[in-house]
C-alpha cells in the first residue's frame, strides 16, 4: 500500500475528470466560488473599515495615550477644594520634569468652534492651544511649513498651524497658505504650517474629516489671549511603551496630587474603553460574516455532493470495469473523494481570484485612504481551507456509494 501514490493518482484522475466535464464541473464549483469570493471580499471590505477605525484611533495617540481632565473634587474634599490651583500650565512642567515614562506631554487649551476670517471670507473650525509635543501624540504630517516650536511657546507668538479645511475655504487660490494671515476674535495669526489632507472614505464619507478641521496655536498664546490665566482644559500624555502604562498612570496621579495640593480634582483616562468597543465591533463583524460565509460554503458543499452523486450514477459501469480489473473499494473511494476535493480546491482557487477582482472593483468605486488593507490574506487562507474541507466532507458520501457498488451489478448496469 502506498497512500501518497494513491492520493497523487486520485488527484490526477480527479483533475482529468473535472477537465473532461468542464461545464458541469464549473457549475458544481459555482457555489464554492461564490462562497469563497463573497467571504474574502466582505472580510476585505470590513477589514478595511476596521483598519480605518484603528488608524483613526492610532492617529489620536492610540492605546499609549492618557488624557487628564478636570473634575469636581470628591465630596470629602469639597470644603478644601479651593486650595487646588486646578489644572494649569505648571502641571505640564511637573509631569515633564518628574515622569520620564511620559514620552510626550501637551496641554489642550480648547477654544472649540471659532470663526476664522481671511479678507471677506469666514469659516468655522476647531481651534486648540497646544505645545510642540502634540505632533508626538497625534500622528499628523505637515505638508508645508512647520509645527509650533518651543520658541513660539516661550514668546507666545501669534502663529497658527492650519488643516486643509480652513485652507480650502479661506485660501481657495493658494495651495500653500504658509505666510498668510488669519483673523480670529480680532487677533491676527500668521500661518506657519499646514497639515497634509487626511482621508479614509467609508461609504463615501471621510471618516477622518474632523482631523482636517483641526487648527492649532501655541498653548501659551491661547492662555494669554483668551483667558488671561494659566489654566488648561486637559492634558494629553503619551507613554513611551505599553508596559509602562500602569506605572505612568500612577506617577501622573502622584505628581498631580502634589501640584493640586492633595485635591483629587482631576481624572486620568486611558484608551482601554475605546479599544474594547472596537474589539466588540470587530467580533460582531467576524461572527456575522463567518455565519454568512459558512452558510454559503455549506450550500456550495451540497452542490458538490449533488454533482458527485450524479457523477457516480453516471459512471456505475466504469466503476464495475475498474473493480473487475482489480480496483479495491478503497481505490474507488479515493478516486471519487479526490474528484470532489479537486472540484472544491479548484473552486476555492477561482473564488480567491474572483475575490481579488471584487476587492479591486470595490476600490475603484470607493477610493480608499492609505490605510486600506487590500488583500485579506488570513481570510483567503481560511476561505481556501474551509472550502477544501467542505469538498472533502461532501465527497465522502458519494465516494462511499461508489465504493460499495457490487462489481457484477455495476458491470451489468446499462
Amino acid at each position: 500500500m502506498n497512500p501518497v501514490g494513491d492520493i497523487i493518482n486520485g488527484a490526477t484522475n480527479g483533475l482529468s475528470e473535472v477537465w473532461a466535464n468542464k461545464v458541469r464541473s464549473l457549475l458544481s464549483m459555482s457555489g464554492i466560488i461564490l462562497g469563497v469570493a463573497a467571504l474574502v471580499a466582505m472580510v476585505g471590505i470590513v477589514q478595511g473599515m476596521l483598519t480605518n477605525m484603528r488608524a483613526s484611533f492610532e492617529l489620536g495617540g492610540g492605546i499609549l495615550k492618557l488624557e487628564v481632565v478636570p473634575r469636581d473634587a470628591p465630596e470629602a474634599q469639597q470644603h478644601i477644594a479651593g486650595i487646588s490651583p486646578g489644572m494649569t500650565w505648571r502641571d505640564i512642567g511637573a509631569i515633564e520634569k518628574a515622569i520620564p515614562l511620559a514620552a510626550f506631554v501637551t496641554p489642550i487649551v480648547d477654544m472649540r468652534w471659532e470663526r476664522f476670517i481671511v479678507g471677506g471670507r469666514r469659516e468655522f473650525a476647531f481651534l486648540r492651544g497646544v505645545s510642540p509635543d502634540l505632533t508626538g501624540i497625534h500622528n499628523r504630517e505637515l505638508e508645508y511649513g512647520r509645527f509650533i516650536a518651543d520658541s513660539d511657546i516661550a514668546s507666545k507668538s501669534p502663529v497658527i498651524v492650519i488643516g486643509t479645511h480652513i485652507r480650502d475655504s479661506l485660501f481657495r487660490d493658494e495651495v500653500n497658505a504658509v505666510g498668510q494671515q488669519v483673523r480670529i476674535r480680532n487677533q491676527i495669526y500668521t500661518v506657519i504650517g499646514q497639515f497634509s489632507h487626511m482621508e479614509a472614505l467609508i461609504g463615501g464619507r471621510n471618516s477622518l474629516r474632523w482631523q482636517n478641521r483641526m487648527n492649532y496655536i501655541p498653548a501659551t498664546t491661547a492662555m494669554a489671549r483668551y483667558q488671561g490665566g494659566d489654566e488648561v482644559d486637559s492634558i494629553e500624555i503619551l507613554a513611551d511603551r505599553v508596559e509602562s502604562l500602569p506605572d505612568l498612570v500612577e506617577q501622573v496621579h502622584n505628581t498631580l496630587t502634589q501640584t493640586h495640593r492633595g485635591i483629587q480634582d482631576f481624572e486620568i483616562r486611558t484608551q482601554e474603553e475605546e479599544l474594547q468597543e472596537m474589539k466588540k465591533l470587530e467580533n460582531s463583524f467576524t461572527y456575522s460574516l463567518g455565519g454568512i460565509a459558512a452558510i454559503s460554503l455549506l450550500v456550495g458543499g451540497i452542490g458538490i455532493m449533488n454533482v458527485m452523486l450524479a457523477s457516480v450514477s453516471e459512471r456505475i459501469r466504469e466503476i464495475g470495469v475498474r473493480k473487475a480489473i482489480g480496483a479495491r473499494s478503497h481505490d474507488i473511494f479515493i478516486q471519487f473523494l479526490a474528484e470532489a476535493v479537486v472540484i472544491s480546491v479548484v473552486g476555492g482557487l477561482l473564488g480567491l481570484a474572483a475575490s481579488v477582482g471584487l476587492l479591486t472593483l470595490a476600490q475603484d468605486f470607493i477610493p480608499q485612504g492609505e490605510t486600506i488593507q487590500t488583500v485579506p490574506v488570513t481570510a483567503m487562507f481560511y476561505g481556501f481551507v474551509f472550502s477544501s474541507t467542505i469538498g472533502l466532507l461532501s465527497g465522502i458520501y458519494p465516494a462511499m456509494r461508489a465504493a460499495r457498488l457490487d462489481p457484477i451489478d455495476a458491470l451489468r448496469y446499462e
Binding site: M1, N2, N9, S16, E17, A20, R317, E318, G320, V321, R322, K323, A324, I325, G326, A327, R328, S329, H330, D331, P407, I408, L411
Partner: protein, 234 residues
C-alpha cells in the same frame, strides 16, 4: 507425459441467491478442474449459470457452498479485498461490450490494471506497448476507444487483460458484438496467445466460437451437464 499444473479445482460449488422468499441456485454443485494452458469454452443457455461460474472463476463473487482451490490455495471464503487483489494480479477480463474507459487513450486503458495491481513496475508505458504489440494494436496507442472499430476495441481490451500476465483470462461473449470477420480475427488472436502459453476460458453461446476451444463445458440449471474432457457427466 506429466499432468499439466492445476490452476482451479472446484468441488460441489454452490451459489444461492435469495430473491424475495425464494432461493435461486445459480450454481448447484459444480465440480471443475482447470489446468494450465487450457482453452475452455463454457456454453449454455441464459440462466444456465455460466456467467455465475465465470464470476466465481474471476473472483468477482464468492461461493455460498463447496470448496474452491486456486493455485493450491483454498479461496472458498476470502474477503473482498483479497478477491480484488487476485483479480488485479492473477485474472484478466475480456467483456462483450469491451468496457474500455472512453476518456482514456488506448495506452492508458491498457495501463489501467497496473494502477491497481500495485506491482513496482518501472516502465509502465513500455509494458503496455508490448501488450499492444501482442494484439497488433501498437499503432493506435494514442487514440481513444471511440476512434476504433469494434474489433480493434476488443483487441485493446485483450491487451489490457494481458498486461498483468494473469494466470487465467476470462472472456464473456468476447465476439458477441462483432461481425463474423472480426470474430474470426479475435479467435485467431486467442489461438495465437494460447500458443504463447496463456490459459483461457470463454463464455459463449456461439458454437463456432466454442469450436475453437479444445475443451467444452455445457451448463444447465446451475450444473455442468457436459464436459468434453470427461465425456458427458449428467
Amino acid at each position: 507425459m506429466s499432468q499439466p499444473e492445476e490452476i482451479f479445482a472446484l468441488s460441489k460449488i454452490r451459489r444461492t441467491y435469495t430473491v424475495g422468499s425464494e432461493q435461486v441456485h445459480a450454481l448447484d454443485g459444480v465440480d471443475l478442474k482447470i489446468y494450465d494452458r487450457e482453452f475452455i469454452a463454457i456454453v449454455g443457455t441464459s440462466g444456465s449459470g455460466k456467467s455465475t461460474l465465470m464470476h466465481m472463476l474471476g473472483f468477482m463473487d464468492s461461493p455460498t457452498g463447496g470448496e474452491m482451490v486456486f493455485e493450491r490455495r483454498d479461496v472458498s471464503s476470502i474477503g473482498r479485498g483479497e478477491r480484488a487483489r487476485l483479480r488485479a494480479s492473477r485474472i484478466g477480463f475480456v467483456f462483450q461490450a469491451f468496457n474500455l474507459l472512453p476518456r482514456l487513450t488506448v495506452l492508458d486503458n491498457v495501463m489501467l490494471p497496473l494502477v491497481y495491481s500495485r506491482k513496482p513496475i518501472k516502465d509502465k508505458p513500455g509494458r503496455a506497448m508490448n501488450a499492444l504489440k501482442r494484439v497488433g494494436m501498437e499503432h493506435r496507442s494514442t487514440h481513444t476507444p471511440n476512434q476504433l472499430s469494434g474489433g480493434e476495441r476488443q483487441r485493446v481490451a485483450i491487451a489490457r487483460s494481458l498486461i498483468n500476465e494473469p494466470r487465467l483470462i476470462l472472456a464473456d461473449e468476447p465476439t458477441g458484438n462483432l461481425d463474423s470477420k472480426n470474430r474470426s480475427k479475435i479467435m485467431d488472436l486467442f489461438a495465437s496467445l494460447l500458443e504463447e502459453g496463456i490459459t483461457l476460458a470463454v463464455v459463449t453461446h456461439d458454437d463456432e466460437v466454442a469450436n475453437y476451444a479444445k475443451r467444452r463445458i455445457r451448463m444447465q440449471d446451475g450444473k455442468i451437464i457436459e464436459d468434453s474432457a470427461k465425456g458427458a457427466t449428467a
